[in-house]
């Protein structure tokens, strides 16, 4: 099982529909400061459904919607899809490809929004995402996605905080 495609629409600095294809093995990602590399990581985490929007560097989920960049008006929704190759059926769904889609859509004025989830284009709940993905050992709050600054956080921890990491794992 592996991540085949990441489909971004109006997610943070990805103001145009962008499809990124990934292969197996070791893929490098590079580019200047502020170009969007960590935003790609945030997009993946967004779909996996982390406990807080803060790990996506957003005070609220609507901050994730493309703000217009230099001259445009802000968008009113953002949509991210993760497409996994599932030929080995590690995800307990009977299809060779499984697509998880998450949408945040502004509703009315202010910061209200609606949240939508789809699995292979069928409406779903976040709990469905987490239960299917955790069977494939993919977690939003796990250790497989090492964010910029995570290593410094571990370095700065006290021995007690480090022990609590082990507790959370058990």
């Amino acid at each position: 099982m592996y991540l085949k495609k990441l489909d971004l629409e109006n997610f943070k600095s990805f103001g145009k529909k962008t499809i990124i294809e990934f292969k197996k093995g070791f893929t490098g990602v590079s580019g200047p400061n502020g170009s969007g590399k960590s935003n790609i990581s945030d997009a993946i985490l967004f779909v996996l459904g982390p406990k807080s929007s803060k790990i996506l560097r957003a005070q609220r989920l609507t901050d994730l919607i493309f703000n217009g960049g230099k001259d445009r008006k802000p968008a009113d929704y953002c949509k991210v899809s993760l497409v996994f190759d599932n030929s080995d059926r590690e995800i307990p769904v009977d299809s060779d490809e499984v697509t998880f889609t998450r949408i945040i859509k502004k509703s009315g004025e202010g910061e209200d929004y609606n949240s939508y989830f789809y699995i292979n284009d069928e409406k779903a709940k976040l709990q469905d995402f987490t239960s299917l993905l955790s069977r494939a050992k993919i977690f939003a709050d796990g250790y497989n996605i090492v964010q910029q600054g995570d290593i410094t956080r571990i370095v700065e921890m006290s021995p007690l905080e480090r022990r609590r990491i082990l507790e959370e794992i058990s």
Binding site: V29, I44, P159
Partner: protein
Amino acid sequence: KKDGLLSVYRAIKENFSKIYSEITNGGEAVMYLENENDPFEGGLVIKARPKGKKMIRLEALSGGEKSLTALTFILAIQQYDPSPFYLFDESDMFLDGYNAENMARILKENSNKAQFIVVSLRRAVLKYSDNILGVTIMPDGISKVYEETYTEEVNTIGQ
């Protein structure tokens, strides 16, 4: 609950020491509970001995040595409960060229069993990639991703 913690602790403890010696080509590191009989009293201490030096606490190591040790801790946790895909976002901070390359070499070796997406600005790391995605931001503030051939684009960024 205590047994759960102790079994996680013992497994990760062993991974940690093995991985450190591999990533540092012969250094030595240990992690231990300050109170193994009553683990909830006291924390988890990490000590490391980079090659040619004495074993000292994590807090006293150099910036790069601390980073490498913290990265090893994360790799030890990953090894305890493996995932089909991993993303590392600039985990080579503070590492000099030699250590950044050691890190990349370990990730490359593991990439035959899992998918690795590694964000880095450094040639020492990117040269281990099977393929590279370049990301840029256009003057209008919109990001763009393209496939990079190793020799041309990366050499200018990857300093």
